[in-house]
């Protein structure tokens, strides 16, 4: 009898320890995220098991796929959120409708808006999450990521001009106020778009684009045809200039989490 109870206790402890870095005595908060980005971030911080639901297309890491969903990024269902009775709803300020926060307040659900438009915001938001929600005593994971970023950026001393293409037609670029642009800037890059431009993904005229060739032209795509098409066009538009064309896989670079930080230096090493 005693042996059985002891085994149960061991199993329980292992579940709690394995589930998340939360203290065993601490109540596990129930979290809902409203975007795939936030889902990925929570898993990266080591608290994936606290998620009770998330938005559609939360496909990374694999465990996220099995979570129940509360609707799509732009149309989250308040009814579904309420049904899960979460302790916190993490709202992606970039994409989730602003009305959701008001609605959540009305139904007395705590929500936290997360901004992820720069590398700095990624770290500060992560720190907020770790300290305020998960009551983490140590921020080891963030310290490691900071060190990793610092050592990676040190290698790159060369300055270069770049543009990031989100879509070819209509020609839509990543503005300065995007996470990806900020990340590449940390490695010595300068986004050719005017830094006063507030739009995150501005549609720009092709004439301006042709007149301002970058050193590296990034294209967010998984499809080889898109890259080939841009390569063909680049040869026409800039026959006398060397424009390095680099594909960024959306699997690694579309979401402002720690994943792009892990892959960008390898890409830039090849490109430069």
């Amino acid at each position: 009898m005693f042996l059985l109870s002891f085994t149960k206790l061991l199993v329980l402890c292992s579940i709690i320890i394995g589930a998340s870095p939360l203290e065993a005595s601490q109540k596990v908060p129930k979290i809902i995220t409203t975007s795939p980005t936030l889902t990925e971030l929570i898993f990266q911080l080591g608290y994936g098991k606290t998620l009770v639901a998330t938005s559609e297309f939360s496909d990374y890491p694999k465990e996220a796929k099995s979570l129940p969903t509360i609707g799509s990024l732009f149309y989250p269902s308040l009814e579904k959120i309420v049904r899960f009775s979460p302790d916190y709803v993490l709202v992606d300020s970039e994409s989730t409708p602003h009305t959701l926060v008001t609605q959540l307040n009305k139904v007395k659900l705590a929500s936290i808006s997360i901004h992820l438009r720069s590398v700095e915001e990624l770290f500060t938001s992560s720190k907020t999450l770790l300290q305020e929600i998960f009551r983490a005593q140590h921020l080891t994971i963030l310290e490691e990521k900071t060190k990793q970023l610092q050592s990676n950026t040190k290698i790159f001393s060369k300055n270069f001009r770049f543009l990031i293409v989100a879509w070819i037609s209509p020609l839509t670029l990543f503005g300065n106020s995007t996470f990806l642009s900020d990340l590449i800037s940390k490695y010595g890059g300068q986004n050719l778009l005017n830094s006063n431009l507030q739009a995150a993904y501005p549609q720009v005229s092709l004439e301006w684009f042709v007149k301002n060739p970058p050193d590296i032209l990034f294209l967010l795509t998984n499809q080889k045809e898109n890259l080939d098409e841009l390569q063909r066009l680049a040869q026409k538009w800039w026959p006398n200039q060397k424009v390095n064309l680099v594909a960024l896989s959306p699997d690694y670079f579309a979401r402002p989490t720690f994943t792009p930080l892990e892959h960008i230096s390898a890409i830039l090493k090849d490109a430069l």
Binding site: P36, S169, S205, E207, V210, L220, A254
Partner: protein
């Protein structure tokens, strides 16, 4: 005389704007581009020949075609609110392109995707003709209502498809809803002209039948032609014309609705042929000017073309309406 002078003045202003389009826009280029030998390989030279000229040909063709189709529909349906998108042909093209992009992974500016768009449009055109001839849709009001129904159905399907996509970065498909002038090469511009010009010419040549229709079915019969055959003929022609331009640009609003009305108010043309011809010229120039403005307001930003056409055309139309 006064009307002629006004029209001439307006046309001159529009031609000046056209010059500004070629040499102004987001990146102004100088005349030296064509004189100095060293400039022949410059960025300005490439911008002019690779970007500005094909784009100008495209917007002139698309603007003209939309105004012409709008003018034709207004006569055909005897409805002053008829615009090129009233029959649902363009929303079917848009749906086809988005389906090709989402489910088949074909870029919407590829020939394959346009083939799917064309296929969707042909289904709607055939359905329209079938209903028109065999299912008592010969009342034009019913045809319009049928088109409105198709439009709602396809637009809803389009919105559902777009909202079901992975919105990690939003969706390029949204451009079809607001209209977009894509980059095309010179040979593609000529290919579009080669497709649309014969259709436009046929529409104008047979314009006298539209005059007959505008006087009513009884008069049309006494003039010696079957009004329903003429309607069917024009439905097919205009749908093909519309399909060929929508495949490239998506739905650009306002031009097809308002340009023919403005032409009526300014020139008061006496025949459908003249109306359609002048509508073509003004629709073409109006879209060209709107396109220049969309790229010049806040360079390097480019605003959705449909937004500019509405902002420009709305006050102009209201002014003309007020003056007359």
């Amino acid at each position: 005389m006064k009307r002629l002078f006004g029209g001439g003045l307006l046309l001159t202003v529009l031609f000046i704007c056209l010059g500004l389009l070629l040499f102004g826009g987001a990146q102004a280029i100088s005349f030296d581009t064509f004189t100095a030998e060293s400039m022949t390989n410059s960025a300005d030279h490439r911008i002019f020949w690779l970007l500005k000229i094909p784009r100008l040909l495209l917007v002139l063709t698309v603007g003209g075609a939309l105004a012409m189709v709008g003018g034709t529909y207004q006569i055909l349906f005897n409805n002053s609110l008829a615009d090129p998108y009233i029959l649902g042909v363009s929303s079917s093209v848009t749906l086809g392109l988005v389906v090709a992009e989402i489910f088949l992974g074909w870029p919407s500016n590829s020939i394959k995707a346009m083939g799917i768009g064309l296929g969707f449009a042909l289904i709607v055109i055939l359905l329209l003709l079938f209903c028109f001839y065999f299912h008592k849709l010969q009342n034009m009001e019913r045809v319009v209502l049928f088109g409105v129904g198709i439009n709602f159905l396809f637009s809803s399907a389009l919105f559902i498809l777009i909202s079901l996509q992975n919105h990690t970065l939003g969706s390029g498909s949204m451009r079809w809803l607001f209209g977009n002038i894509p980059w095309i090469e010179l040979k593609e511009s000529f290919a579009l002209i080669a497709i649309t010009a014969p259709i436009g010419i046929i529409i104008v040549i047979f314009g006298r039948y539209l005059d007959g229709l505008s006087l009513g079915d009884t008069v049309a019969r006494t003039l010696g032609f079957n009004p329903n055959h003429v309607r069917g003929f024009y439905l097919v022609l205009t749908s093909l014309l519309l399909t060929s331009v929508t495949c490239l640009t998506g739905s650009i609003g306002f031009i097809g609705l308002v340009v023919p009305h403005c032409v009526r108010l300014v020139f008061a043309p006496r025949s459908s042929r003249v109306l359609l011809l002048i509508s073509f010229v003004f629709g073409a120039l109006f879209l060209a000017v709107s396109d220049t403005i969309s790229r010049s307001i806040l360079p390097p930003l480019e605003f959705p073309i449909g937004m500019v056409t509405t902002l420009l055309g709305g006050p102009l139309f209201l002014y003309l309406l007020w003056k007359r």
